[in-house]
Each structure stands twice: as structure tokens, then as C-alpha cells.
């Protein structure tokens, strides 16, 4: 799964200074002491709203993230690849469910969150607004997109909010299989025919920059980081995590014999880091605003699924009500 720096969306709720002084101070000192906050504990309204926004957007990303890969289930090149891809897409659905549950502990309902997604009011990770044109894209998504997501998510396992941290522990455990199966697809293609190698390179060319953008704007432009760091919702800056991802991923691309699509990429011996060329943030902003290649298609698919499932939800509710009546319980 997949979060990009989700704190970049929407407007920041008013800072905690407006809250009653005593509880706010006690709250912050609990956070400073690495104590976890649980659903019924007092918390500043801004902390609650920040978490609702971040966790629900994270959940939406999991659900929308099922679409680009689901696109290839019927065309997976072997039965093995097909069962693996089905399992991975099912995991993403499961991750969405863990996260929606975590968000609900903060006082928002599942129906409200769904409504925000389907109306377009809520954001999800912009990476899923890119199309999966070839089978190699399934490999590149596992390797790069899940790889970037893992980098973002591991620190959230220590988030100050208990239910979110616990959901992330489960998710991170499952995520590693996603990344490895993706890399294995890329490895197989890169050792294949000329056309297969070209397909792998083309996928890397298209997914490299969007994957780097998943870490969110550079620190200089990231408005909400400081407060999230104070609250220990966030532990590392966007640029720190991006750099870490670049440093581990570039050698993996070399192993595959593929070329990172960046002429400025070089090894900085003094700093012991890979340095990349400038990121085109105008593309990121455009996709975020709804002008990516698939924004409309993704939301349409979610709306269609929601409508098509309506009769099932109604039938299940009617069945449950009748069973309860027969059992003589209040419904």
C-alpha cells in the first residue's frame, strides 16, 4: 500500500493553541513521553481532524490502488502470476478496511468517508491516476510504488495514535511480499527477450518520477510537517524518506540492468548519497488537482462499483432484519 505524504492535502485545522491549556499541555507531554493516544482519550480537535484526514485518505488510496493492478488480473501471463496478483489486490482491499476502521475510532462514519471519496472531496495518492499500460507496470508498481509506500509507512507504525499505529503494523507485515513479487516480475522481464527488457525499461521510465513524488513536496514547501512531527504522526521529513528510497532503489535498478530515467543522477561520494535531477512538481500538482491521465476513470470505477453493489447491501440488511425479527430480538 500506499500513502504519499498525505498531510499535504486539504487545509490544516486551527492549531492546538485554542484548546484549553491544561489538557493540551498534558496531551503534548504524553506524546513527548512516547505514550500512545487511544480513542477515548482527550485529544486536541486539530489532532483528531488531522488524523481523520490522513487515515481516511490513506484508506482511499488502498481502495483506489486496487484498480490499476486489478486491470491486469485477467491478463496475467501465467497462473502463478495471476494467483499472486489476486492475493496482492485482495491485501490492498484489506489494508483499506484496517484503515477505515482506525479512522472510525476518531468519530467519522464509514459512510461519510465513502461519500467524501465518491464525491471527489477526499484525496487519494496521486500515483494511482497513472495507467497500467503493460504487464511490466504491475512489476514496477510492486517494486517502486509499494517500495516507496513501505518507506513512508514503517515510521507510521510508531505513530502516536494507537489504532493507526496498530493498523500500520499489520499493513507493513504484508507489504514486503508486494514489493518482492514486483521486483521478481522486473527481474524476469529484464532477463528475457529484447522486447521484454524494453518493456521493463519503459515501465521504469514511466513510474520512476511519480514514485519519487509519492513522498510529497520538498521540505521547504511542506506546510504541515512541523505540527505532525510535534504530534509524532510523522517522524521523518519528505526529503529524508525520498533520499532513503533513492539510495536503496538505484542499485536495484542497476542489478536489473535498467537505466534510471534521469540524466543528472550521480553518486555523491562525499555525502554517500545518490543525487537526482530536479523533480517536475507542476506535474504532481496537476495530477493532484484532477488532471492526471486516469483521475476521472478511477472515480467513475469506484462510483460504478458502489452503485452496482447497492442491491447486495440492501438484501443483506433486509435478511439480517428478518433473522433478528424471527429470533425475537430487537433489530
Amino acid at each position: 500500500m500506499y500513502t504519499q505524504a498525505l498531510d499535504t492535502h486539504g487545509k490544516e485545522p486551527a492549531a492546538a493553541v485554542t484548546e484549553a491549556d491544561g489538557p493540551a499541555r498534558r496531551f503534548q507531554s504524553r506524546i513527548d513521553a512516547e505514550d500512545k493516544i487511544e480513542p477515548k482519550d482527550w485529544m486536541p480537535e486539530a489532532y483528531r481532524q488531522t488524523l481523520i484526514r490522513q487515515i481516511s485518505q490513506h484508506a482511499h488510496s488502498e481502495i483506489v490502488g486496487m484498480l490499476p493492478e486489478g486491470n491486469w488480473i485477467t491478463r496475467a501471463p501465467s497462473l502463478k502470476r495471476k494467483v499472486v496478483l489476486i492475493a496482492k489486490v485482495q491485501d490492498e482491499g484489506g489494508h483499506g478496511m484496517y484503515l477505515y476502521s482506525a479512522a472510525e475510532t476518531l468519530g467519522i462514519s464509514r459512510a461519510q468517508m465513502l461519500e467524501q471519496l465518491l464525491s471527489g472531496a477526499a484525496k487519494y495518492s496521486s500515483i494511482f491516476n497513472y495507467p497500467t499500460l503493460t504487464w511490466a507496470d504491475v512489476g514496477a508498481i510492486g517494486w517502486l510504488v509499494d517500495g516507496a509506500a513501505i518507506m513512508n509507512q514503517i515510521p507510521i507504525c510508531r505513530c502516536s495514535y494507537g489504532p493507526y499505529a496498530r493498523a500500520m503494523v499489520r499493513i507493513c507485515k504484508e507489504e514486503s511480499f508486494h514489493q518482492r513479487q514486483g521486483f521478481e516480475i522486473m527481474l524476469t522481464l529484464s532477463q528475457g527477450t529484447h522486447a521484454q527488457r524494453a518493456m521493463a525499461q519503459d515501465a521504469l521510465n514511466r513510474w520512476w518520477w511519480p514514485s519519487l513524488m509519492m513522498f510529497g513536496p520538498s521540505d521547504a514547501d511542506s506546510k504541515h510537517s512541523a505540527q505532525s512531527m510535534r504530534w509524532k504522526i510523522k517522524r521523518f521529513s519528505n526529503d529524508e524518506l525520498r533520499q532513503k528510497f533513492i539510495d536503496i532503489t538505484v542499485p536495484q535498478a542497476h542489478f536489473l540492468g535498467l537505466t534510471i530515467p534521469d540524466n543528472d543522477l550521480h553518486w555523491d561520494e562525499a555525502a554517500q548519497h545518490y543525487r537526482i535531477g530536479p523533480i517536475d512538481w507542476s506535474e504532481f500538482q496537476a495530477v493532484l488537482k484532477g488532471h492526471g491521465p486516469c483521475n476521472r476513470e478511477r472515480l467513475e470505477a469506484r462510483r460504478r462499483a458502489h452503485e452496482a453493489g447497492r442491491w447486495v447491501r440492501e438484501a443483506a440488511a433486509a435478511h439480517a432484519a428478518r433473522q433478528a425479527r424471527r429470533a425475537g430480538e430487537p433489530t
Binding site: K40, E104, E115, R166
Partner: protein, 95 residues
């Protein structure tokens, strides 16, 4: 589009026989049977359990965090409930 959610259930898993059921999370379901089926899909995709409990969240009565001190503070100064409270000479064995 304002649908109401199915009831919320809390899910508990016994990871293997001999261990207690442990809370793992929650989910929505129309009834208890569906809750078990969903819990299977959502929480046990990797052999996490051999038994499931689901309980309607509305049926759980929880203590109030605001009363935590009143509930748990009295245990804090009763160190004599712990074996290390008692000084026994080293030469005495098997105690």
C-alpha cells in the same frame, strides 16, 4: 446517497489452540454470521488464527479513561503484592 453503515463488530482471534482470543480490529457486517465471514477475509489471510470471536461493538462496556486513576491508582502502592518485596537471605534456596 446517505446510506447507514452496517453495525460495527469487534474481532478477536485465537492464533493457535492454547492461547487466548486477542482483539485485532473491527469491521462492519449486516449480522454476526457475515461478521465472521468478513473477519476471515480481512484478518486471517495468512493463517493468523484457528478461531474467531465477533462481538457487536455497541455491546462492549468500557472503563472511562477519565476514571483510570480512581480505578488503577490503588494498586500502585501495594508493592507487597509482589514477591520481590520480601527480603530473603541469599543462602535460602528454592523460595
Amino acid at each position: 446517497m446517505s446510506e447507514t453503515d452496517w453495525p460495527l463488530f469487534e474481532v478477536f482471534i485465537r492464533s493457535r489452540s492454547g492461547l487466548e482470543h486477542k482483539h485485532v480490529g473491527s469491521l462492519h457486517a449486516a449480522d454476526a454470521r457475515m461478521a465472521i465471514e468478513h473477519a476471515r477475509d480481512v484478518y486471517t489471510r495468512r493463517q493468523e488464527g484457528v478461531s474467531l470471536w465477533v462481538v457487536r461493538s455497541a455491546d462492549i462496556v468500557a472503563s472511562d479513561p477519565g476514571e483510570a486513576d480512581a480505578l488503577f491508582e490503588p494498586a500502585r502502592d501495594k508493592v507487597y503484592r509482589h514477591p520481590t518485596f520480601y527480603a530473603i537471605p541469599d543462602e535460602v534456596k528454592n523460595l
